[in-house]
Structure formats: structure tokens, C-alpha cells
């Protein structure tokens, strides 16, 4: 069962790359971005990493909806 839904607000993202370093299974970045979501509904064992990436993003570009 999906427990969360992850999106990147492309107009907010500045390609800082923190999300990729924190949660590489979920986010990817090519060049200056914007970041891409590799796994829109990551498994629950990635919750801590996804929450950290959300909080770490300097432009509030990551949206995590708890399902």
C-alpha cells in the first residue's frame, strides 16, 4: 500500500541537490535541474529520508503528501 506521494514543484526548484544527497533512491538531478522524482510513491522504509529531503530543501520545492 502506498504511504506517501512525492512531487517536486519545478518552478520552485533551483537545483541545489540536497534531496539527491539525502534520498538518492527517490530524487535525481541532471545538470542544474530541476530535480526529478524517481519514485513517486516510495516505500515506508524511505520515509525518514524523504522527510529529511523535504525539510532540507532550501526552496520548499518538495511536496510530500501522507496517504
Amino acid at each position: 500500500m502506498d504511504t506517501m506521494s512525492v512531487t517536486v514543484r519545478r518552478d520552485f526548484c533551483v537545483g541545489n541537490g540536497n534531496c539527491v544527497r539525502v534520498a538518492p533512491e527517490v530524487f535525481a538531478l541532471e545538470g542544474s535541474g530541476p530535480a526529478e522524482v524517481l519514485t513517486k510513491n516510495p516505500s515506508d522504509d524511505l520515509r525518514e529520508q524523504v522527510e529529511e529531503a523535504e525539510a532540507f530543501c532550501p526552496t520548499d520545492a518538495i511536496e510530500v503528501i501522507r496517504l
Partner: protein, 388 residues
């Protein structure tokens, strides 16, 4: 007083420390502070102001010291300092932190710098003896028990001090956590304490000309928008200073050579009509911004640059203003300290006090309030809340 704290680190060192401390500001951590720390602190603080008042009578109080007490109480929980649980202990904790903060910001003081630093060092010694040592010892025991599988990770406190112990940040410098604490306390209090009286003042004027919006004073979306708008107009600092790591030409054509110090004047950039509209210097809780940086990226926040930008953007901004409503499911959203305090005060019928005008702090050229008298008119609700 702030050496090697997060504020002054850069590059990889900054990344590592920031990542470690980001754990204090995740959604689940923020919801934890809101329910376990902020709500009780607000209740305790309001109960102090109720002392001596009679049921049925409106309660007069000053928003500035009340908010200051609430923020110091919340700050103690986020930092990981125990024993700030009685009015006397809370006052002692606040007095020591004010002295340490004055020492940390001595560069901007017009008072005797040597004396301020002397008092800050004395306050630090007293703080270690009266609060810090016991808080540190308790957390070290808990972390050791967790490492021995005697307790679950969920049983560890969620605070800065525990994070620093877990990640073994101390090294050979026993004062590093203290400097980090002073930084967090200054940063968390300055913006919120500065902004909240402005929010209330602006909303009093706004609702007098838009009476239909009075009903929205307890609405989370309206109150968040009003708060971010007031923070845009009254940022906690007049400017932020950066040093250019490499030469750069800005979109405006301005060239900045590597090594140059650049001061960003927040009052000017946050009232830029090309970004916030022709009425950028006025308060509008319905303002929307659509401006972005180059190539349509890096959308300008509603609060402008009040929380900074980039790698050093304020780590605690969600703690202050919460998330846009609707971004998370009902019950899991982060509401923010500003809504936590103002929403409750408005629920108790907060108005400005017509008999006592607010006073700006004459000790600074900045627009900080020294006193902002308010009246709580629905005191019955307040009495029953405090009784519980």
C-alpha cells in the same frame, strides 16, 4: 559566542551540520513540537497573565513580553533544556539567555562591549550549572540506553542537544553545543517576536476597513498569509551580508567580484514593486507572488528574502510559519508557531488595547515594538483552558 556554529560554517562543513540538524525540522518533528511543547507553553504563559483577573472581565496584557515568554519556553524544548517548567525557572532561563545573546551580538550594541561580554561569560557559567549539565547528563544516559537496545529510538527526546550527542558533534569543544543553542535561540526569537505585533497591528487596521475579514482571524490560511505578509514588510533583520565566493554578474547586470562583501537590504528587496506589485509597501493578506528567478525557476517566496535564500536559508522557517494549507492532509499539516500563538489569542477575542498605544523600541532605528498592549475579550474560554 557563535564561533563554529551553523551560521558561520560554509561548504561541506555547513552541509554536514545542516543535514544533521535538519532532522529537528522535519514534518513529524515540527508536529511533535507543536503538540508536546508549544501548546503547553502557551497555556502556562497565559495562565500567568490570568493571575489576579476575575472571570467575565477582559484581560489586558502586553503581547511583546507574553510572546517572548512563549518563545523561550518553546525554545527550551527544541534545544533540549530541562527544568524550564515553573515561572521562576522560566524567568531565570530567559534572563541567562538574554545575557548570552547580548554577548553574541555585541558587535551591534551601543553599550559597553567589554561589560556585555563579561556578563555573557558569567551567564554561560551559570547556565551550565543551573540547566545545561543536568540536561546533557540525562540525554547521555538515554542515548547510551538506546545504543544498548534498552529503549527504542522513539523514546529519545527530539531536540538539538540529543541530536548533537547522537551524532558525536562535541569533539574536544564542550562549548560548541552552547554556542549552537545561543544561535538557535537568537534566530528563532528574533523573527517571530519582531513579526507578531506587526501582524496584529496590520490586521487591526485591515479588519477596520474590511470588516467581513474579522471572522477569518482564526482561519489558518488567512492568518498564515497575514503573517508572511507582515514578515515581508518587517523582516527580523535590516540586511543579510554575504561574501562572494566567485565573481558573478547578476541578472540586473551588476557585477560582483570574488571576495567582495555584499549586503542585501531586505527592506528594499522585499518591497520591490516589480516583484510584489505596485502596492508592494502596503499590507495585503491576499497578496500572491508569481515572480521567479531566471528561466522561470526559484519562485519568489511570499515573505521575500526575510528568511534568506539558498544553502543558508533559515532552517526554522517552517517552525515559524508552517506550511501552505492544503499541502498536507488534514491533521498532518504543520501550522507553525505564529498560527499557534495568534490563532489561540484571536480565539480568545484578541484586540489591540484602545487605552494604551503600542510603543516602538526607541533604542533602535529598526521597527521593533517594545510594548504592544492587547485585550483578550473572551476570557471565559481562557479561564476554562487555563484551569485544565
Amino acid at each position: 559566542m557563535l564561533g563554529e556554529s551553523l551560521l558561520l560554517l560554509d561548504g561541506e562543513e555547513h552541509y554536514k551540520r545542516r543535514r544533521l540538524e535538519t532532522g529537528l525540522f522535519t514534518s513529524s518533528a515540527l508536529r511533535y513540537y507543536e503538540s508536546k511543547a508549544l501548546a503547553p507553553v502557551i497555556g502556562r504563559t497565559l495562565a500567568r497573565y490570568l493571575d489576579g483577573s476575575r472571570p467575565g472581565e477582559a484581560v489586558k496584557m502586553d503581547l511583546v513580553p507574553a510572546v517572548l515568554d512563549m518563545l523561550y519556553g518553546l525554545g527550551a524544548a527544541v534545544l533540549g533544556i530541562d527544568g524550564v517548567d515553573t515561572p521562576e525557572r522560566a524567568d531565570h532561563f530567559k534572563a541567562l539567555f538574554i545575557k548570552m545573546s547580548d554577548g553574541a551580538t555585541v558587535t551591534h550594541s551601543a553599550n559597553d562591549h567589554d561589560q556585555l561580554l563579561r556578563e555573557a561569560v558569567e551567564a554561560r557559567a551559570e547556565f551550565i550549572a543551573d540547566f545545561y549539565s543536568a540536561s546533557l547528563a540525562r540525554r547521555r544516559v538515554l542515548v547510551a540506553r538506546w545504543r544498548a537496545d534498552e529503549i527504542a529510538k522513539e523514546d529519545l527526546p527530539r531536540d538539538l542537544l540529543t541530536s548533537l550527542i547522537l551524532n558525536e558533534v562535541f569533539g574536544d569543544d564542550p562549548y560548541l553545543p552552547l554556542r549552537e543553542m545561543v544561535l538557535y535561540m537568537i534566530a528563532s526569537i528574533r523573527t517571530t517576536l519582531h513579526a507578531l505585533p506587526h501582524v496584529v497591528g496590520h490586521l487591526a487596521e485591515w479588519t477596520s476597513s474590511h470588516p467581513a475579514d474579522e471572522a477569518k482571524l482564526v482561519d489558518p490560511t488567512f492568518l498564515r498569509n497575514a503573517t508572511t505578509e507582515a514578515i515581508r514588510l518587517h523582516a527580523g533583520l535590516p540586511s543579510v551580508v554575504r561574501i562572494a565566493k566567485e565573481s558573478v554578474t547578476l541578472a540586473s547586470g551588476l557585477q560582483v567580484e570574488a571576495g567582495r562583501t555584499v549586503s542585501i537590504l531586505l527592506d528594499q528587496v522585499n518591497k520591490d514593486p516589480s516583484v510584489f506589485g505596485p502596492d508592494a509597501d502596503t499590507f495585503d493578506p491576499y497578496r500572491k507572488t508569481t515572480a521567479t528567478g531566471p528561466k522561470g525557476r526559484g519562485k519568489v517566496a511570499e515573505w521575500g528574502l526575510a528568511f534568506g535564500s539558498g544553502a543558508h536559508v533559515c532552517i526554522g522557517r517552517r517552525l515559524v510559519i508552517g506550511d501552505e494549507q492544503g499541502r498536507h492532509d488534514e491533521g498532518t499539516e504543520v501550522r507553525g508557531t505564529a498560527f499557534g500563538i495568534l490563532g489561540l489569542l484571536y480565539a480568545y477575542g484578541m484586540t489591540t488595547d484602545p487605552t494604551r498605544p503600542a510603543k516602538l523600541d526607541q533604542g533602535t532605528f529598526y521597527d521593533a515594538y517594545e510594548s504592544f498592549p492587547i485585550v483578550l475579550n473572551s476570557v471565559e474560554n481562557l479561564v476554562s483552558q487555563a484551569d485544565h
